[in-house]
């Protein structure tokens, strides 16, 4: 039972980090139909930026988090402005291919700046542990769950209540109509990229605290795809629940069945979902009347 509890907490905490990265992915997909292959690399960038801010420059953690998020947003805005905006109006596939290229570039840049060796710094997440019954839970992992949920809830509120959030929903619903209502598509795409980067950076910061700073984070970033396919490409709620499910499945298979299989499970889920329910748990089901 104590193992179960431990696995659940660790599964949920990784799951919420996946959810943060996935939510950013969903924001971009909702606004522009672009499948953003750089989402995992933004997560990677987040872990290195927090290492840079706290471990290298020695900022206090609060300032470090702020600097990390701002730098990540700046990188995303630069990508949007310089690379993707000129492609607005081109086929979506061009934008998607460009994000694949950008993904390699980002990964290469991180490698070029910080090198391939894992780095470490004093995490700002609390070191101690909490004892719940027979289980000993790391408080860092425990803490990451409410942080992630708060960020995700804020994203949900953004879509429901802000001018840009509503504009984003409008664009997703009908681009022509949105244009004729005076909604600026470049602006909304910019906001989408900024939000995607901010949420990935917060995920990256927590990842740095929970698993450390290394190029391997990029492979964790790839886990975004099973999460969004399971949850539905265009649903924030789907990202949260998909992230939780994938995180838990990984933890349980790793804990009960054996290490190694846990790396395969998310992609097994991905294939299964695509066969059975291609629009995911909460995705918009597209029915075409002929």
């Amino acid at each position: 039972m104590d193992i179960f509890l431990q696995l659940t907490v660790s599964g949920l905490s990784t799951g919420m980090i996946y959810a943060l990265a996935a939510a950013g992915f969903v924001v971009i997909y909702k606004a522009s139909d672009v499948i953003n292959f750089t989402q995992g690399d933004l997560l990677l960038l987040g872990t290195y930026l927090i290492f840079f801010a706290i471990g290298q420059i020695g900022l206090p953690w609060s300032l470090g988090v702020l600097v990390t998020v701002l730098l990540a947003v700046a990188v995303a805005l630069a990508i949007e402005r310089l690379v993707l905006r000129p492609l607005i109006g081109e086929p979506i596939i061009s934008m998607i291919m460009v994000t694949i290229g950008l993904s390699s570039i980002l990964r290469g840049l991180v490698n070029a700046i910080w090198g391939p060796a894992p780095r470490s710094f004093d995490s700002f997440l609390p070191e101690g542990s909490v004892v719940v019954g027979p289980a000993v839970l790391s408080s860092g992992r425990l803490l990451s769950i409410p942080i992630a949920l708060a960020v995700l809830a804020a994203l949900g509120l953004f879509f429901r209540h802000t001018r840009d959030g509503i504009a984003m929903r409008a664009i997703a619903d009908d681009q022509q109509a949105a244009l004729s209502m005076g909604i600026s598509i470049p602006r909304v795409f910019g906001v989408a990229w900024a939000l995607a980067a901010a949420s990935a950076a917060i995920g990256g910061i927590m990842l740095a605290g929970v698993v450390g700073v290394s190029p391997n984070v990029a492979s964790i970033g790839l886990r975004v795809f099973p999460v969004v396919i399971l949850g539905g490409l265009d649903s924030i709620k789907g990202a949260v629940i998909g992230g939780a499910i994938i995180g838990l499945l990984e933890a349980y298979t790793g804990g009960y069945v054996g290490h190694g299989l846990n790396l395969v499970v998310p992609y097994g889920v991905l294939i299964l979902v695509l066969m059975v329910r291609p629009y995911g748990l909460f995705g918009k089901e597209i029915i075409e009347r002929v």
């Binding site: 953004f158 001018r163 509503i166 504009a167 009908d174 949105a178 209502m181 005076g182 600026s184």
Partner: protein
């Protein structure tokens, strides 16, 4: 006094010429009908005005209420909407997953201020602005008799009602000029009559300049002050409805008799 001036406008798609050297004006406060056979370029004209298409040649100038002239052919669609140019579409373009009320509130988008922060915090000023927009939208709902439908999801509404909602959303923008692309398409006689009534009310009670495309000649003849006739991307006639109706070139364009000679 013209509110819109299109000067020598040409629009091509590859080898296809949609508009060639079109010069026309829309006068302030008039109800102008744009007619012509299928493929004449009517919708292209509206798309050029609202910025969805960019003409290769020619200019479009909008004279705002304060007298400033804006070169619409150089502005992006969202700036054009902000200048008070609202429109509806031939194949209804609504936010289908939102309610009637939400669709209309989006019509207020250009009048809303406030970014992520102030909007997210729902500050007092923001709240008052929201109430003000809401009041405006309620007035449009009232005007278009949409009360019973206000909280229904638009995708589930009957076709004729969707057309009304689309027009209401354009009105919510508080436009100086309203572009209607086949507002009565696919409607039965009764629905057409009530739509024509709404168009007249918009024009007369609200003093909005209206440009309407329609294939129903009876409706056009009934409601419009002036008619411009297009064929093959050119203007072939313009004038009061009764005059245009008897115009030889117009009759030819519609019946197709002299098409070989014209080309």
């Amino acid at each position: 006094m013209p509110i819109l001036e299109l000067d020598d406008l040409s629009l091509r798609f590859g080898g296809v010429t949609a508009l060639s050297g079109l010069t026309m004006e829309v006068r302030k406060g008039e109800l102008l009908a744009l007619i012509g056979p299928n493929g004449a370029g009517k919708t292209s004209v509206l798309n050029c005005i609202s910025g969805l298409y960019r003409a290769q040649d020619g200019t479009i100038a909008l004279t705002a209420a304060d007298g400033t002239r804006h070169p619409l052919h150089r502005l992006p669609p969202h700036r054009i909407a902000a200048l008070g140019v609202a429109r509806t579409f031939q194949n209804i373009e609504l936010f289908k997953h939102m309610t009637v009320l939400e669709n209309l509130m989006l019509g207020r988008h250009v009048h809303m201020k406030g970014g992520v922060l102030s909007g997210g915090l729902y500050l007092g000023r923001q709240r008052r602005a929201e109430i003000e927009h809401r009041r405006h939208v309620e007035e449009v709902i009232d005007f278009m008799n949409l009360e019973p439908l206000r909280s229904r999801e638009v995708g589930n509404l009957a076709y004729g009602n969707q057309r009304l909602v689309e027009m209401a959303r354009a009105l919510a923008l508080d436009p100086a000029i309203l572009l209607l692309d086949e507002p009565t398409a696919g409607m039965n006689a009764e629905e057409k009559e009530s739509m024509a009534r709404f168009i007249l009310d918009v024009h007369e009670e609200r003093g909005i300049t209206v440009v309407v495309i329609d294939h129903d000649i009876d409706v056009i003849m009934d409601i419009s002050d002036r008619v411009v006739v297009l064929d093959f991307g050119r203007k072939i006639a313009e004038g009061p409805p009764e005059e245009v109706r008897g115009d030889a070139a117009v009759i030819d364009a519609y019946l197709g008799r002299a098409r070989g000679d014209v080309a």
